[in-house]
């Protein structure tokens, strides 16, 4: 029944595509999506069905995670209140249709930026909020220490509709190893199947492995292998065609990262208004007219930093302090040996 409802939903979504597209026309410097968002009073954001650290809901339905924070930042910038976000949990399979059909306005759901996704299917990636790579998790007792020890007939559990499925095939094919892909629609189903011994290994993005490991019945009996078999730059996505909205989302994310670079955080943001550094003053809306470019007021970036915090705060709160990935690795600022580097806000 569930499936039928889902199919119905996608059918409705399809018709929504047919009807809704034509009504959205673009005027210069005016974003229809922004107008609709203001009228509606909340930002419509697509997230995962539960990935600790990235987008995860607690018992009372509060969403947290670094993907969630991107949407909150956009809400703070456009509506002045970071809590005015409606989150829609989506499976990997549903996510792009939900965005292109207009069911959501931002997809912030650990989505890998690839050429075909960016160019082919009516989407635009606005940036990267997490640099990731695909890895494998195995049982400690198996004694496997490296991916080179996989043998013919290994069964591999993973998610449907992801780049993971393709990387996995590249990996095993290039090594001439036959394997059995067991592909589930939901992450929780993958975890349950792997936990029960259906599969010898579980593959997805390494951050995902670290997060899902906490859901296993005995997390300490499992280990993530050291190899990374792919590049997975994860970032928020918007619909193609509304370049102003695209800019708003891109620069909301960039503001969080640049704020960390200049040492501006949620507690000192107000004080930074009187800073001697013009770059910092621009970042907290005390200099320049940056917001006007998107049709926003001048405090848009200050609100992001005050209500959501900078990238470092978001990372610490969601990923480091929860024990998922205490080490920032490549997701450290470029000034500190990482590859997090954003264009200047000026």
């Amino acid at each position: 029944m569930f499936k039928i409802i889902k199919q119905l939903t996608s059918l409705v979504a399809m018709f929504a595509v047919l009807f809704a597209f034509s009504t959205e026309t673009m005027a210069a410097k005016k974003s229809k999506t922004l107008e609709n968002t203001k009228k509606r009073g909340f930002v419509r954001c697509g997230v995962s069905q539960g990935l600790p650290g990235f987008s995860n809901a607690d018992e009372s339905g509060n969403w947290t995670g670094i993907d969630v924070d991107v949407c909150r930042a956009v809400a703070a910038a456009t509506l002045g209140d970071a809590t005015k976000v409606k989150f829609t949990p989506l499976s990997a399979k549903e996510r792009f249709t939900a965005l292109t059909s207009g069911e959501i306005d931002i997809l912030s759901r650990n989505t890998t930026w690839t050429l075909s996704r960016d160019a082919d299917i009516g989407l635009t990636f606005v940036g990267v909020n997490f640099y990731d790579g695909q890895g494998f998790m195995v049982r400690k007792g198996s004694g496997i220490k490296s991916t080179s020890e996989f043998k013919n007939g290994t069964s591999v559990c993973t998610n449907l509709g992801t780049t993971t499925e393709l990387n996995m095939r590249d990996f095993f094919d290039s090594r001439g190893i036959s394997y059995e892909p067991v592909v589930f629609e939901k992450a929780d189903e993958v975890v349950a199947a792997y936990d029960a011994g259906r599969c010898d290994t579980y593959t997805t993005d390494k951050s995902g492995l670290a997060a899902q490991r906490t859901k296993l019945s005995a997390p300490d009996d499992h280990v993530v292998l050291p190899e990374t078999i792919s590049k997975e730059p994860l970032g928020p996505v918007v619909r193609q065609g509304d370049s102003v909205w695209e800019d708003i989302v891109r620069w909301s994310l960039n503001t969080m990262i640049e704020a960390e670079e200049y040492g501006v955080n949620s507690s000192n943001a107000d004080m930074m208004k009187t800073s001697n550094n013009p770059a910092i003053k621009r970042l907290v809306g005390a200099e320049g007219e940056l917001g006007a470019a998107f049709g926003l007021d001048n405090d848009w970036n200050l609100r992001i930093i005050k209500q959501v915090g900078n990238y470092g705060e978001s990372y610490k709160r969601n990923i480091a302090d929860t024990g998922i990935l205490p080490d920032r690795g490549p997701n450290e600022l470029w000034t500190k040996g990482g590859i997090l580097y954003v264009p200047p806000a000026r």
Binding site: M1, T97, L160
Partner: protein, 383 residues
């Protein structure tokens, strides 16, 4: 003139309306996809799919095309539907007849079975069989051999594979057996109609089916060997069986759930069919001296089948469509492989969803056509 207008105007208007709606939808979709830079087209079907599928009836790898991936999904859907239809029919007939039994225990067990399995949502049953029942199975290295050579494990059911030599000779013998059975039946019918003599056709048929293929082994050079599944070590703690055939647990769970669920509806159809034949028919047949077996075979069943077939067709159609729930437990059917992975990798939502819908429609119409043909065959022929 006025009459012709009255006759055709509403129909022309209706056609115009339908054409306009479809035209509007198509043009709208076209413009909007153009705006978003989405191309419409079926060219992707010949592109390399670059993903693998767990279980396939035909040779398939990631270097094959999306069209072949579609075929893999379609065959898997047909496979699970076919097996489940056979099981649910056998089970359904047994339960349906059992519900009419005069034995209190049998009658009530059958009733309980029906009420239990048809009132629990199918998806829950699939989850139950996959996540609860099959999860309780042992790991490959701990599995006991069933019938000495098969192993039921959490990773699947491993059975010996058959290695044939001169399989075609064997198949020809099988074909010859079937043809001789048809000839025999016609002869027996003829004999009964003209001379009133009964020939035990069933007994002879079974004998033919066994003897002819057996001869092919003795004289036709046919040989059959079994390749047994062998335990293989993958790592310190993980094992798998190699050789033989492996039936994935996803397939088993799906077949179990679909057959048990649909068999309850088939059982009700069977019961309704048998009860629908009036009691007088049975009494009349008995009074002309037919044995109870003959009464059932010659009088009750031919009439009951007429009532049973149409609603049972519906159940077969439902079963086939319900098999799309496979995606929930990772069985690579049409929805999972094509409307899932392929859709995600290509982004061709409208094309793939339409192809999938058309495919299910075709499967359903085919089943309906076969069942209608059968229904025609058994319905009352007025002479």
């Amino acid at each position: 003139m006025n009459n012709i207008l009255k006759k055709f105007l509403p129909q022309i208007l209706a056609i115009l309306f339908v054409v306009l709606i479809f035209g509007f939808l198509t043009i709208n979709a076209q413009t909007n996809m153009d705006n978003r830079g989405i191309d419409f087209g079926f060219g992707f079907l010949s592109q390399e799919s670059s993903f693998d599928v767990q279980f396939s009836l035909i040779e398939y790898s990631g270097s094959d095309s999306y069209a072949r991936a579609f075929l893999v999904g379609l065959l898997n859907t047909l496979l699970v539907s076919f097996i489940s239809i056979i099981f649910c029919t056998i089970l359904g007939v047994i339960i349906g007849v059992a519900r009419l039994s005069s034995n209190y225990l049998i009658k009530n067990s059958a009733a309980w079975y029906v009420e239990f399995f048809r009132n629990i949502p199918l998806l829950l049953q699939i989850f139950f069989w996959y996540y609860a029942a099959l999860r309780a199975l042992p790991l490959p290295e701990k599995a006991d051999a069933w019938f000495g050579v098969t192993y039921m494990t959490v990773k699947g059911y491993y059975i010996p594979a058959m290695v044939w030599e001169n399989l075609n000779v064997f198949l020809y013998c099988g074909l010859a057996a079937i043809i001789s059975i048809i000839v025999l039946r016609n002869y027996a019918n003829n004999l009964r109609d003209t001379k009133g003599k009964q020939v035990p056709v069933l007994l002879y048929s079974i004998a033919l089916l066994i003897v002819l293929p057996l001869l092919s082994f003795l004289f036709g050079g046919v040989s059959l060997e079994f390749e047994l599944p062998q335990l293989k070590k993958l790592s310190k703690i993980s094992y798998i069986y190699e050789g033989g055939i492996s039936l994935p647990p996803e397939l088993i769970a799906l077949v179990l759930a679909l057959s048990l669920y649909t068999s309850t509806f088939v059982a009700e159809c069977v019961r309704a069919g048998i009860e629908g034949v009036s009691k007088g028919q049975k009494e009349a047949a008995a009074s002309v001296g037919l044995t109870p077996n003959q009464v059932l075979k010659l009088v009750i069943m031919p009439q009951a089948l007429r009532i049973i077939i149409p609603p049972t067709t519906n159940q077969y159609l439902n079963l086939t469509k319900n098999s799309s729930l496979a995606a929930a437990i990772a069985y690579p059917d049409l929805v999972l492989v094509f409307a899932g992975t392929a859709l995600m990798q290509t982004g061709k939502a409208i094309e793939i969803v339409s192809i999938t819908m058309l495919t299910y429609l075709t499967i359903s119409l085919t089943i309906a056509a076969i069942m209608n043909w059968y229904n025609k065959k058994i319905e009352i022929k007025e002479k």
